[in-house]
C-alpha cells in the first residue's frame, strides 16, 4: 500500500485567499493511499520544506504530493527536498493550484476549491503509480565549437581556452576580427579596436 503525503500551500494569500486550503487538505486525507494531508503558509520556504522532510520520516512516506504553484516553477525545489528526506526525487507530483486555479478563478471561490481538490486527486493518482527513476550519464567531449570569429566569438574562445579546454573557432571569412576589427576607435573610451 502506498504511503502518500499531501502538502497544500497557502502561498500567503495567493492561494489561501481564493481556495479553501484546509478543506483541500481535509479532502485529500480521504484519497486512496494518503496517510497524511496537511497545509502550510509557504511550502517552498525552509520551514515548509522541513515540514515535508519531518513528515516523510515520521510517517514513513514513500511518495509526496505538493499542491502549490506550477511545477514549472518549483518542481526542482521539491525534488531536492525529497532527496534530502531520503526519497527518490521522482516520487514527487505537484498540483498546480495557483497559476491554473486560484489566480484565474478569483471570482468563483467555491469552484476554485472544488477544482483544487480535483487537481490534488489527479496528483495523488499519478504519484501512486510512480516508480523511482535514476539519471543515466553520458560522456562529455571536452572541446567547444565557437561559430563566428568576431569580438563575441574571440572573447568566448579565449575564456574557454584559458580554462584549459580545447576550442575550435570557425569563421567563414578569411580573417578573424569580424565587424569589430573594421571599426576605428570605440566609444566611450576611444581606444582602438584591433
Amino acid at each position: 500500500m502506498n504511503r502518500t503525503g499531501v502538502f497544500v500551500c497557502w502561498c500567503g494569500s495567493n492561494i489561501g485567499a481564493v481556495v479553501d486550503v484546509p478543506r483541500v487538505a481535509e479532502a485529500a486525507a480521504g484519497f486512496t493511499g494518503v496517510v497524511l494531508a496537511t497545509h502550510y503558509k509557504y511550502m517552498c520556504s525552509e520551514p515548509g520544506q522541513d515540514t515535508i522532510i519531518q513528515a516523510v520520516r515520521e510517517h514513513r512516506l514513500d511518495r509526496v504530493v505538493v499542491a502549490s504553484c506550477s511545477p514549472r516553477l518549483h518542481e526542482g525545489t521539491f525534488r531536492k527536498t525529497l532527496a534530502r528526506a531520503g526519497l527518490n526525487p521522482y516520487m514527487l507530483e505537484m498540483a498546480n493550484i495557483r497559476e491554473q486555479c486560484s489566480w484565474v478563478h478569483r471570482q468563483e471561490k467555491d469552484k476554485a476549491t472544488e477544482k483544487a481538490i480535483d487537481l490534488v486527486r489527479r496528483a495523488v493518482a499519478k504519484t501512486g503509480l510512480a516508480s523511482p527513476l535514476t539519471a543515466a550519464s553520458i560522456p562529455v567531449t571536452r572541446r567547444a565549437l565557437v561559430i563566428g570569429g568576431g569580438i563575441a566569438g574571440l572573447q568566448a574562445a579565449l575564456d574557454i581556452a584559458d580554462a584549459g579546454h580545447e576550442v575550435v573557432l570557425v569563421e567563414r571569412e578569411s580573417t578573424i576580427g569580424g565587424k569589430m576589427a573594421m571599426l576605428d576607435k570605440t566609444f566611450p573610451t576611444l581606444d582602438c579596436s584591433a
Partner: protein
C-alpha cells in the same frame, strides 16, 4: 585577435563554414567545410609578394566598396591570419585565363590552384553561436535618401572604415565622390531602426553612441567642419555614455530632433530637408557628406545556421534565448549557447560580458567527465517489442536505434530485432509510446498507466 591565434588550446578555422551538426549536448558531431584558399597556409610565410604583383583588382568587401583589393589578398594589413586567399570569382587563372603571376613570384611555392574544398569532421561537447550582425539594407527601403544613388550618402560602418588608420583612406574622412574633405556632415539616426513601415521595430542600441563618436571625430579631424545629427531620441544607457554624448554636444555637434524627409543632389552638394520638431520648423541643410546610422540585423545566412545547429530564431531572425532575463546566454537546445549580437543588437561592452558568460556556461559543462541525463525518457520492454520500429519512424530526435536480442525458441537460439532508446538523444516527448502497437515502449514519469489514472481521477 593575435591572442586567439597564438593560444595553444584554440584551433582557428578561417574561410570555413559549419555544414552539419549531429548528436547532442556533450557529444555533438560537427562537419565543417574548409573552403579552398588556393594558398597552402602551411608553406605561406605571408611575405606579401603575391598581392603586390597580382594584376587583377576588384572592389574590397572589407572596405565596403570604398577601396580596391587584389584577387589574391588579405582583408587588411593587421589581419589574422596574415596569409592570403585567392578570390575564385575574380582570379584570372581560376577563370580559365592565363595569368598565374602569384604562383611564379611566390618564394615559398605556396600557391595551389588545384586546392579543393575539404570536409573536416570533429566532435565537441558544447557550441557557442557568435555569428554577429549585418547592416539593414537601407538602399532597398529608403527612396528618400536616394536608394544608394548618391555616392556621398554612406553608412556608419563605411565611416568607420574611412576613419580607421589602416582603412582605404588612411584614416582621413573624405567624400567618396571626389575625395575632398567634407565641411558639413549630416548624421541621420534610426535608419531602419524603430521604423515599422520601412525597417525594423526594434532599437539597434549602438547607433546613438557611435553617431556621437562620429560627430566628435568629424569635429576633431576636420578643422572648421560642422556636424549635424538628426535624431528621434538620444538613448545613452551605459557607463560613461551620457557623459560621452554631452561631450560631443559641447564640442559643437548640433542635435536636431526630427526626421529627414528628403535628400537630393544639388551640384556637388547634398540638400538635406527635414523638420526640427522641437522648434516646429522645417530645416534645410547643405551637406557634403551624409552618414546613416543603419539598423543592425541578424548576420546573413542566420536562418540556415540556426537550422543546421538546431535552435530557433525570433521574429526578426535574432537567435532565441531560453529566457530573456534568466537564461540570456542559452538556447532551448541543451549545449548550444549565445554570445553577442546574434541574439539581438548590442554594443561591445555588452557583447564581451555576454561572451564571457557563455564561456562560463560552456566551462561548467566541460568541467564534468560525464553528464547526467534526464531520467524521464522512453524505455522499451524488449519482451513485448515486435521490432516493427514504428517508434523510430515517429521519433523527432532520431533517438531510437535498432538492436537485437538472442532468445531460445523451439530448441533453437534465434536473434530477434528490437527497438533501443539512446538515452543521450531522447528528449522525453513520448511520441513513440503512441505509435507502439504492442505497448512495449513507455515513457518513464509519464507512463500510460499514470496518464489513464490521472484522467480517471479528474473525471470522478
Amino acid at each position: 585577435m593575435v591572442a586567439a591565434a597564438q593560444h595553444p588550446h584554440i584551433k582557428l578555422m578561417t574561410f570555413a563554414e559549419v555544414l552539419k551538426v549531429d548528436g547532442y549536448v556533450g557529444n555533438f558531431e560537427i562537419t565543417v567545410k574548409q573552403k579552398a584558399r588556393y594558398v597552402d597556409h602551411e608553406k605561406c610565410t605571408g611575405c606579401g609578394t603575391c598581392w603586390e604583383k597580382c594584376p587583377s583588382r576588384t572592389s574590397s568587401e572589407y572596405n565596403l566598396g570604398l577601396g580596391d583589393r587584389k584577387s589574391i589578398y588579405v582583408s587588411f594589413p593587421q589581419a589574422v591570419p596574415n596569409k592570403p586567399v585567392i578570390d575564385r570569382d575574380s582570379c584570372r587563372y581560376l577563370n580559365g585565363g592565363k595569368c598565374g603571376v602569384c604562383s611564379k613570384v611566390c618564394p615559398a611555392g605556396a600557391i595551389d590552384y588545384q586546392q579543393e574544398d575539404q570536409l573536416v569532421k570533429f566532435s565537441a561537447g558544447a557550441i557557442i553561436m557568435a555569428t554577429g550582425y549585418d547592416l539593414f539594407p537601407w538602399e532597398e527601403a529608403y527612396g528618400e535618401y536616394g536608394y544608394g544613388r548618391y555616392p556621398d550618402v554612406i553608412t556608419g560602418l563605411q565611416f568607420e572604415r574611412m576613419s580607421n588608420a589602416s582603412g582605404p583612406t588612411g584614416g582621413r574622412i573624405l567624400r567618396p565622390s571626389d575625395g575632398r574633405e567634407p565641411q558639413n556632415v549630416v548624421f541621420i539616426k534610426c535608419v531602419g531602426s524603430r521604423d515599422d513601415t520601412k525597417g525594423k521595430s526594434y532599437c539597434s542600441r549602438t547607433c546613438c553612441m557611435y553617431t556621437a563618436k562620429h560627430a566628435h571625430q568629424v569635429l576633431e579631424k576636420i578643422p572648421g567642419s560642422r556636424a549635424f545629427v538628426f535624431y528621434m531620441d538620444v538613448r545613452t544607457p551605459g557607463k560613461a555614455y551620457e557623459e560621452f554624448y554631452q561631450r560631443s554636444v559641447r564640442e559643437g555637434a548640433q542635435y536636431i530632433r526630427g526626421r529627414v524627409a528628403k535628400i537630393y543632389q544639388s551640384g556637388d552638394k547634398l540638400m538635406v530637408k527635414g523638420a526640427d520638431t522641437l522648434l516646429g520648423m522645417p530645416v534645410e541643410l547643405e551637406a557634403d557628406l551624409v552618414v546613416l546610422a543603419t539598423a543592425m540585423t541578424p548576420s546573413r545566412g542566420y536562418g540556415e545556421i540556426a537550422r543546421v545547429v538546431g535552435f530557433s530564431t525570433d521574429k526578426d531572425g535574432f537567435f532565441q534565448e531560453a529566457h530573456p532575463k534568466l537564461r540570456p546566454m542559452e538556447t532551448n537546445t541543451a549545449g548550444v549557447f549565445l554570445a553577442g549580437a546574434c541574439q539581438g543588437p548590442r554594443d561591445i561592452p555588452d557583447t564581451v560580458a555576454q561572451a564571457s558568460g557563455a564561456a562560463m556556461k560552456v566551462c561548467a559543462l566541460l568541467s564534468k567527465e560525464r553528464l547526467e541525463t534526464e531520467p524521464m525518457i522512453s524505455s522499451v520492454n524488449r519482451s513485448l517489442c515486435s521490432g516493427c520500429l514504428e517508434c523510430a519512424r515517429v521519433c523527432p530526435y532520431k533517438a531510437i536505434e535498432e538492436d537485437s536480442v538472442s532468445e531460445r525458441a523451439g530448441g533453437k537460439t534465434i536473434r530477434r530485432r528490437v527497438a533501443s532508446v539512446n538515452t543521450g538523444l531522447c528528449q522525453g516527448c513520448g511520441c513513440c509510446t503512441v505509435a507502439c502497437r504492442p505497448g512495449a515502449i513507455n515513457l518513464l514519469g509519464f507512463t500510460n498507466e499514470q496518464l489513464l489514472a490521472e484522467v480517471d481521477a479528474l473525471c470522478l
